[in-house]
């Protein structure tokens, strides 16, 4: 086997195709557009009488969730099933880890079951990266969310939502609102929007919920909701992640809602055809008013549908990239032996 080229990002193969999907950091616009285009085709599959294609027939996808999840886990399961793969889901928080098994041992056991792909969610930032680097080079690793770091499939499904409702990214103003500090979704969205050429990315949050160095993402920072929402095309609300908060970052949920909750009155400052997004689960009356979540601007449930298509695209592209890499290495090996 050829040693890993340090100049090549871990998630790409030698031909620049996806072989893992860990983060949107460093991925080119063409690749993100290819993911969106492929997902568009899979969306059409979801509207058929038989919502299944034979692409991953005979492959095994293993969902390994070290952290709770409903939407991400079930949509990954559905995505894999619609590609005809066999799927097993492991909630590690309720299994061997509680009996003292280490992360590496758990994964080696799954590898021994001949899994072709792991979808991993973990509370620690960098977990998916670590697994891709150290555990199983021929198994594709898909990041289903790692700590505060990245949630790349959520980022891409948000991009698909924006593209399908707004047609593109070139002339858009997009505001990301709420708990930026704890949000891997915010990070993935900022990276994707920047790469896809969105000219006006805004984040709106109280100072205590903004990470240090947020400016490096090329975003405008607002601490006032009315000012930040003025004339935006897209509002991405984030969930207030109380479970990740230690110490007094917020006076109270009521106070947060009063200043940063998305209400009908506040939304009136955005463009008349603005769309409202939320990665879920939504906290009604904490970050978003019910009338907005259920209102005509909301595309929150469309996001769930698009999420399945994005996950189908990423699973099939990573599988495809793994196959190409194996053939490439095989070819090199044969060449070396022939010399």
């Amino acid at each position: 086997m050829t040693p890993l080229d340090t100049k090549r990002p871990l998630q790409l193969n030698d031909q620049g195709q996806l072989r893992h999907f860990l983060s949107l950091d460093g991925l080119r616009r063409e690749l993100l557009t290819e993911i969106l285009d492929t997902a568009d085709s899979f969306l059409e599959v979801g509207a058929r009488a038989v919502k299944k294609v034979p692409l991953l027939r005979g492959k095994t996808v293993c969902n390994v969730f070290f952290e709770n999840s409903t939407r991400t886990r079930t949509t990954f399961e559905l995505a894999a099933q619609r590609l005809s793969a066999d799927v097993i889901t492991l909630n590690v928080s309720t299994s061997s880890a509680s009996k003292g098994e280490t992360l590496l041992d758990t994964l080696r056991n799954l590898e021994a079951m001949a899994a072709d792909m792991f979808v991993v969610r973990h509370g620690d930032s960098g977990a998916a990266h670590f697994i891709a680097e150290h555990v199983c080079p021929q198994v594709a690793i898909i990041n289903g969310g790692d700590g505060r770091h990245a949630h790349p499939t959520q980022g891409m499904l948000d991009m698909l939502t924006i593209r399908r409702h707004k047609g593109g990214f070139e002339n858009l103003s997009v505001a990301i609102v709420g708990d930026i500090l704890h949000s891997r979704v915010a990070r993935s969205n900022m990276l994707a929007l920047k790469t896809l050429g969105c000219p006006d990315i805004r984040v709106i949050a109280p100072k205590t919920l903004l990470p240090i160095g947020i400016e490096q993402y090329g975003v405008k920072v607002y601490t006032d909701m009315t000012e930040g929402l003025k004339d935006v095309d897209v509002v991405i609300m984030l969930r207030l992640q109380r479970e990740r908060m230690t110490g007094g970052l917020l006076p109270s949920e009521g106070e947060f809602y009063r200043l940063f909750g998305l209400t009908t009155a506040r939304l009136a400052g955005a463009k008349p055809d603005a769309i409202v997004m939320h990665p879920g689960p939504i906290n009604r009356g904490v970050e978003i008013e019910s009338a907005v979540a259920d209102g005509p601007h909301s595309v929150i449930l469309n996001q769930v549908t698009y999420g399945i298509a994005i996950r189908m695209a990423v699973l099939s592209m990573a599988m495809s990239g793994q196959t190409a890499q194996r053939q490439f290495e095989q070819g090199q090996f044969e060449q070396e032996n022939a010399q």
């Binding site: 059409e44 990239g321 196959t323 053939q327």
Partner: protein, 167 residues
């Protein structure tokens, strides 16, 4: 070797297709082109038939049997079938029939939309490679090529070109 003129083939194919459908007693067929070349052939054929029937387009990338060798086609597009498949008489149109694998993938895909009453296969060229037992009902011309030769169709103005892989 000289290649046939596609415009002449289309006119012959239109006549043969009409006769074929008449013979089978099919009065209201649904036309489907396989992306990309098959769609060009289908458009030319519908024009020749003077028909303004909607044309379905099929992208078989998700159904190909070579995914584990070649991976996913990078420019996959959604299939668009603007009519029911269930119970309908279909006319499936492709440009070049070689191994028959594309047609197999296309039929698998069509059956995921419903159970058609019949499928008529129309191809501009049949290269008679015969890897699978799939034969067209209506064909423009049958050619036999050397192993290193390929025919490529460009469109939407149909033009055929002979490619030599040995060069």
């Amino acid at each position: 070797m000289s290649l046939p003129n596609p415009a002449e083939l289309i006119s012959q194919m239109a006549t043969r297709l009409k006769a074929h459908l008449e013979h089978r007693g099919i009065s209201d067929p649904r036309f489907i082109g396989i992306r990309t070349g098959g769609v060009w052939v289908a458009q030319a054929l519908l024009k020749e038939l003077g028909s303004d029937e909607p044309l379905g387009t099929l992208d078989v990338s998700f159904y190909r049997d070579d995914f584990s060798q070649n991976g996913l086609h990078p420019q996959v597009r959604p299939s668009v079938l603007p009519f029911e498949i269930e119970g309908q008489h279909l006319v499936l149109i492709d440009d070049v029939l070689m191994s028959g694998r594309t047609i197999r993938a296309a039929m698998n895909e069509l059956f995921d939309y419903g159970r058609p009453a019949s499928v008529t296969l129309v191809c501009l060229l049949d290269l008679d490679a015969g890897e699978l037992p799939i034969r067209p009902n209506v064909v423009g011309a049958t050619l036999s090529l050397a192993a290193h030769e390929r025919v490529k169709l460009s469109g939407p103005e149909l033009a055929l070109e002979l490619q030599d892989l040995a060069l």
